[in-house]
């Protein structure tokens, strides 16, 4: 009988930076697992003596505080095969293995590090795959971890029937390898490939290299030499210290093979040449494996109150999502409740609400522009993001000015573990970023510029539209007094110019913003405070045609102040203010709603200067009962101070009940408001008397955590809006003259449906989710009219997303989507308008038809190479892999008598390259 020992040597040198980077990542709200025991994880259970011939391969000195190791639930036994036992020299010795103990206690990725006999190795591996552990925990939360095992194997006595070896169990932690006294011949530093961080606990072995070539030993050569079972003539060993340094003493002259071992990192072998009297000094870089134990996700609760539906996506997760070209904000379309934007644009469509009805926050303030032209990329470098929260409706009182949902983008702080950076390029853009420490703080700076227009011109010199954009980001954080002062600066600029061949006139478009935020956060006892003022300059110049042009400049000051008080574990209270004041000036020449833009006499010119002030005061209290029930009542008073002079009180309530079984029930709702879009209230074009649009939301759902990091979730929602601004052809008599009103607040809408999500956490080698949304979004222009389908209705939306981590730092992703077609209004004929020479469409029932359903498969392959201090990452993102012909819109002939389908992108490969240091 064989029995593996327990986790012999923990491998958990979790650096602080890893914890920071992983904080809040993944599906924190849904992760549950077995309750960890209080037993010391690093001592062997009583009565299970360690194997006498155990050879430690790792060091435990770096086990962080708060980590409890995984422990076997029960010994695993394997019978020694009778045929082997019957041989003259039955194999005996140790099988060294490495395996992953998942956060649910199951075992994965069992790998034989050093085998004894193929048959025996196979039996041990098979047995271990069925083993069950009490999972390791970090600060009480289950985490995934890699352990090394040495399984001593002895054949049964010849005279006796098999099996037999005494059960072996967990061994005590190994001591660090002592450094042998004597002259140092090799001294070096072990660093992380790509990030150049010192690696502690790596074991370095020196053995004779024979006639091997000096230099790095390839993986193939390593495998070949592993088959050589000859004991080396001599072996010297050392272990890297906290600063990564190590020394090898008494090593003889000649060629020496240095072997670097550390679980979670690729094995490194180098052959060096030692000459008489020389001391060799060098840096050695270890490459982290994708399936590293350091991918451990520490599940944490957000600082803020829980939302009923808050789906958090980590940067790591967003970066590798197929179809989004590594852009984080485009990746949120893969979540249930988030609609598909046509052409791969970045419009955010949350639970049937239009993009103008949802708000996006970056660093505590709303952003007016989220994407560059056509949604090619968002305006913030994904590398600088920490995570993205998507709250599709029924959000808390901390947010406002949106009757749809909220997207909150969190920017991370710069790294303090040395200077790092990256340069990257793909078919659309190129850029660079650097980060590093500044005193006790850190900085991060980056910039990107598009080259798509340049490439298009190279491909086709006749191409007359040349879009280009650039953006920049700067982040600085530094401790000041009792808190941290942060500065965020970012901006973007998009320019597109072209020539309208038909009229031989130029058209152009420029859109940009520059924004600087300050933030100061500090703690005082049970209080937390936040103050963050900001300034933003928006500009837009556009010439769509000679008679449709716009010049707009806006200077805005923004602020948020917040105090949070947590006197007891069961109660917390938050109070804050948030707002924005803007001074704007614009010059618009345009055409009223029903007229054609080509005719000068029909244009309206409006030049205005003005100001807007709006804001909100909010507060909420969270009460937590010991049985897992919590409730958060809140209220937000929105002031549309100037020029509307209107105030709205929005009460909100959220509650959840988390059970020990891993089940969580959630419900919430409230009222919401937002200022109408400017075209509805700008004098001349709209109606200055337009007041804020309103909505109420109700949502409820259930989540269930399952073994193996699976979870399921079902959510229902109902949103109703009223006082929605709509264009109108109604008129009023002013001074005896009949004048158009242009817009009124008589519109209303509703959206309702359900969302279903089955997912597996991204911490797994195979992860992903299946999300399905069924919903209906309807609007009407007047009370009493029947509701009609809104532009944003997507009745069915199915997304299957999967990601595989493969050996050798390869990964593969796939996304398949089936979405209901976009609602459309049939056009049956055209009417010749003799004033303009154009045809006006004769429209059928508004959104009375639907374009055919959309379906598409996107694939993505990522590969990372580590070359000493540099990491090279490349990806191939293949959109529309089977070249589906999806219709996005219908385009009509000039007289509306014929039409063609405007298709989405055909099969489209996008190649990206990134070099990191």
């Amino acid at each position: 009988m064989l029995s593996p020992s327990g986790p012999r040597a923990s491998t958990v040198a979790l650096p602080v930076i890893a914890l920071l980077a992983c904080g809040g990542v993944g599906f924190a709200a849904h992760a549950r697992g077995p309750t960890p025991t209080a037993d010391s994880p690093l001592t062997s259970p009583a009565g299970t003596p360690p194997a006498a011939d155990e050879t430690p391969t790792t060091d435990v000195a770096a086990v962080p505080e708060g980590l409890e190791m995984a422990r076997l639930v029960a010994p695993v036994e394997v019978e020694y095969p009778a045929d082997l036992a019957a041989t003259d020299t039955p194999p005996a010795g140790t099988v060294s293995l490495k395996l992953v103990v998942r956060s649910d206690g199951t075992v994965a990725e069992v790998e034989v590090v050093r085998g004894l006999d193929p048959q025996l190795d196979g039996l041990v591996v098979a047995a271990l795959k069925e083993a069950r552990y009490h999972p390791a925990t970090f600060e009480g939360e289950p985490v995934e971890i890699v352990v090394g095992l040495d399984v001593p194997i002895a054949p049964p006595p010849k005279a006796e029937p098999p099996p037999v070896t005494a059960p072996l169990a967990e061994s005590p932690p190994a001591e660090p390898q002592p450094v042998v006294a004597g002259p140092v011949r090799i001294e070096g530093v072990v660093l992380g490939g790509g990030d150049r961080q010192p690696i502690e606990g790596a074991q370095i072995l020196a053995v004779p290299a024979g006639d091997a070539k000096v230099g790095r030993v390839s993986h193939r050569q390593q495998k070949r030499s592993a088959k050589d079972t000859t004991e080396p003539a001599w072996t010297f060993a050392s272990t890297s210290a906290a600063d990564g340094t190590f020394g090898l003493t008494d090593v003889p002259d000649g060629k020496v093979r240095l072997i670097f071992l550390l679980p979670g990192y690729e094995r490194l072998e180098r052959v060096v040449l030692l000459r008489g009297g020389e001391v060799l000094g060098a840096k050695f870089y270890l490459t982290k494996m994708h399936n590293s134990p350091y991918r451990t996700v520490v599940h944490t609760e957000d600082e803020g109150m829980q939302e009923v539906t808050r789906r958090k996506l980590s940067r790591e997760q967003l970066e590798v999502m197929p179809g989004s070209q590594g852009d984080a904000l485009k990746g949120i379309q893969n979540l249930p409740g988030v609609g598909r934007a046509p052409f791969g644009f970045g419009d955010i469509l949350l639970r049937g609400a239009g993009p103008e009805d949802s708000a996006t926050y970056i660093f505590e303030h709303q952003v007016p522009i989220l994407f560059h032209f056509f949604g090619l990329n968002s305006v913030v470098n994904t590398q600088m993001l920490e995570s993205i929260d998507v709250v599709p409706s029924a959000y808390g009182s901390r947010y406002g000015d949106a009757i749809g949902g909220v997207v909150d983008v969190h920017v991370r702080e710069g790294r303090r573990d040395g200077y790092h950076g990256e340069v990257f390029a793909d078919f659309v853009q190129a850029g660079a970023m650097v980060e590093g420490p500044v005193g006790k703080g850190s900085f991060m700076a980056g910039a990107r510029r598009s080259h798509a227009g340049f490439l298009l011109k190279l491909a086709d010199p006749g191409f007359t539209v040349a879009p280009r954009y650039w953006d920049y980001q700067g982040v600085f954080d530094h401790p000041v007094g009792p808190g941290t002062l942060s500065v965020r600066a970012f901006g973007s600029d998009d320019v597109m110019e072209g020539v309208d061949d038909d009229v031989d006139e130029k058209f152009g478009f420029q859109l940009g913003f520059h924004r600087v935020d300050l933030q100061y956060r500090w703690k005082f006892g049970n209080w937390k405070f936040l103050v963050t003022p900001g300034y933003r300059h928006d500009l837009q110049d556009a010439v769509f045609s000679r008679n449709d042009r716009l010049s707009l400049a806006v200077d805005s000051g923004m602020w948020r102040t917040e105090a949070a008080y947590t006197p007891r574990d069961w109660i917390s209270w938050r109070f804050g203010t948030q707002g924005e004041g803007s001074a704007y000036k614009f010059d618009i020449v345009t055409t009223p709603f029903d007229q054609d833009e080509d005719v000068a006499s029909s244009t309206v010119r409006a030049r205005r200067r003005g100001s807007l002030v709006s804001g909100g005061v909010y507060s909420d209290v969270t009460l937590k009962a010991p049985n897992g029930f919590s409730v958060t009542p809140g209220v937000r008073v929105n002031g549309y101070v100037h020029p509307a002079g209107r105030y709205v009180v929005d009460p909100r309530l959220r509650a959840q009940w988390a059970f020990d079984s891993g089940t969580t029930l959630k419900a919430g709702g409230g009222t919401y408001s937002q200022a109408a879009a400017p075209e509805y209230w700008i004098p001349d074009l709209g109606n200055p008397d337009i007041h804020p649009e309103r909505a109420w939301h109700a949502t409820g759902g259930i989540e269930q955590a399952l073994p193996a990091d699976f979870s399921v979730e079902a959510t229902g929602f109902y949103n109703a809006s009223w006082d929605v601004a709509r264009p109108t052809d109604a008129t009023r008599i002013v001074d005896g003259q009949e004048e158009p009103i242009n817009a009124d607040n008589l519109g209303s809408g509703r959206a309702y449906g359900g969302e279903f999500l089955v997912k597996r956490a991204f911490t797994r080698n195979v992860s992903g989710w299946v999300g399905y949304t069924i919903m209906r979004s309807e609007i009407r222009d007047r009370a009493g009219e029947p509701f009609r389908i809104s532009d944003w209705d997507q009745t069915h939306n199915l997304i299957v997303l999967a990601h595989w981590r493969l050996p050798r730092n390869w990964s593969l992703g796939a996304r398949f989507r089936v979405v209901s077609g976009i609602p459309t209004t049939a056009t049956s004929d055209g009417v010749f308008d003799s004033r303009t020479g154009n045809y006006a469409a004769v429209l059928g029932e508004q959104n009375g038809e639907r374009i055919a359903a959309f379906h598409q498969l996107d694939l993505r392959v990522d590969k990372t190479w580590t070359v000493k201090a540099v990491q090279i990452a490349a990806y191939l993102d293949l959109q529309n892999a089977y070249n589906a012909t999806n219709t996005e819109f219908r385009q009509y002939s000039f007289d509306y008598k014929k039409r063609v389908a405007v298709r989405s992108l055909p099969i489209f490969p996008s190649l990206g390259l990134k070099v990191k240091f």
Binding site: F509, Q737, E738
Partner: protein
């Protein structure tokens, strides 16, 4: 204010995205079936501009803003792949309606016809019946002249909106009947267009109504206005050759034939008379302000075959190059049209017949 930028950003970009799909659709400038290209109305009894009974001369400016009880003439240009459609094949009717400011012209006509499939002549409609979606027929005599109906309520609306119905080898009444029946699509041999007869200037309207004994109070705030004029063509210059340098310049008149040899192209330049882009004034809604504006002439080019360099020109000089189809002069004759519009219902056109040189 965050939504301000995002909202404006959305404007104008979709057309650029969709432009790529247009290649599969019929070209607007190519006349592949019978269709109206222009409708132009002018006042025929304006002694200042046109002597009564005088035929239209495109080189002369004509008034296109009417006063109650004016007489006018409507000219309609309908073309098909063979050129201008023989007027004897066309039966036409005008249905007039008074629409509210933001109502679509087509909607006014359609809804009015659905409410009253047999509208009375406009001259017989009582004043108080000229409410939105009330339709009447504008009766023409044989020379396509009409009497601008006398309705004081028209002065409130500043224009009389019309639906133009024409049947090719069929009665126009059939087409009206189809629309009145509620159908959104007319038969292919029914042509349908909207046009409007602007009313003004305001002070002249008041004076005319008072002279005719009609009680009328001029609304306040209407700026003084000159009478609107149709643009007029001064010269048409044509150059024919294989390159622009070796082309021979010719001055031609509308309707004239131009001979083109194999491999040759035609450069056409249309000069409008000074004053064809009139200054005018618009009241600023909700204020006492008046915006000073100037018309911009927009010229659209059409042809029964071939290709243009530019199909749209702005300003007093319109020019383009026309190239025949690849099979060259063998496919001739062809017809070229340039339609000039000032955007305030003023218009004119020229027509050239391209024939193969002997």
């Amino acid at each position: 204010m965050s939504r301000t930028i995002a909202s404006f950003c959305a404007r104008g970009l979709p057309p650029l995205v969709l432009a790529s799909a247009c290649a599969e659709l019929p070209r607007e400038e190519l006349i592949e079936y019978a269709r109206p290209l222009a409708l132009v109305a002018h006042v025929t009894d304006d002694a200042e501009l046109t002597a009564p009974g005088e035929t239209h001369d495109p080189t002369l400016a004509t008034a296109n803003t009417f006063l109650p009880a004016d007489t006018g003439e409507l000219r309609v240009l309908i073309a098909d792949p063979d050129g201008i459609v023989d007027p004897t094949r066309i039966d036409q009717d005008f249905v007039a309606c008074l629409r509210s400011p933001l109502e679509e012209a087509h909607s006014c006509v359609r809804e009015g016809l659905r409410a009253n499939a047999s509208p009375p002549p406009c001259t017989e409609v009582p004043d108080d019946h000229m409410a939105p979606a009330t339709v009447c027929t504008l009766e023409m005599d044989e020379s396509d002249s009409f009497l601008f109906p006398l309705h004081p309520s028209l002065a409130q609306g500043r224009e009389l909106t019309m639906g133009y119905f024409a049947g090719i080898d069929r009665p126009a009444a059939d087409c009206i009947e189809v629309m009145a029946s509620g159908a959104d699509k007319l038969p292919d041999d029914c042509l349908y267009a909207t046009h409007a007869l602007p009313l003004g200037p305001p002070d002249a309207v008041a004076e005319r109504l008072q002279a005719l004994g009609v009680e009328f109070e001029l609304p306040e705030g209407l700026p003084a206005q000159d009478r609107g004029l149709n643009p007029a063509v001064s010269t048409i210059q044509v150059r024919v050759g294989t390159t622009e340098d070796n082309a021979t310049p010719l001055e031609v008149t509308s309707g004239q034939a131009v001979e083109v040899g194999p491999g040759q192209q035609v450069w056409v330049a249309v000069d409008y008379t000074d004053g064809s882009e009139q200054p005018y004034r618009e009241p600023v809604a909700g204020t006492d302000d008046v915006t000073e504006l100037e018309e911009t002439l927009l010229t659209r080019w059409y042809a029964t075959q071939g290709e243009f360099d530019a199909i749209l020109n702005r300003g007093l000089l319109a020019e383009t190059r026309w190239s025949p189809d690849e099979d060259g002069s063998s496919s001739l004759p062809a017809d070229i049209f340039a339609i000039g519009r000032d955007g305030r219902w003023g218009g004119t056109w020229i027509h050239l017949r391209i024939v193969p040189s002997p």
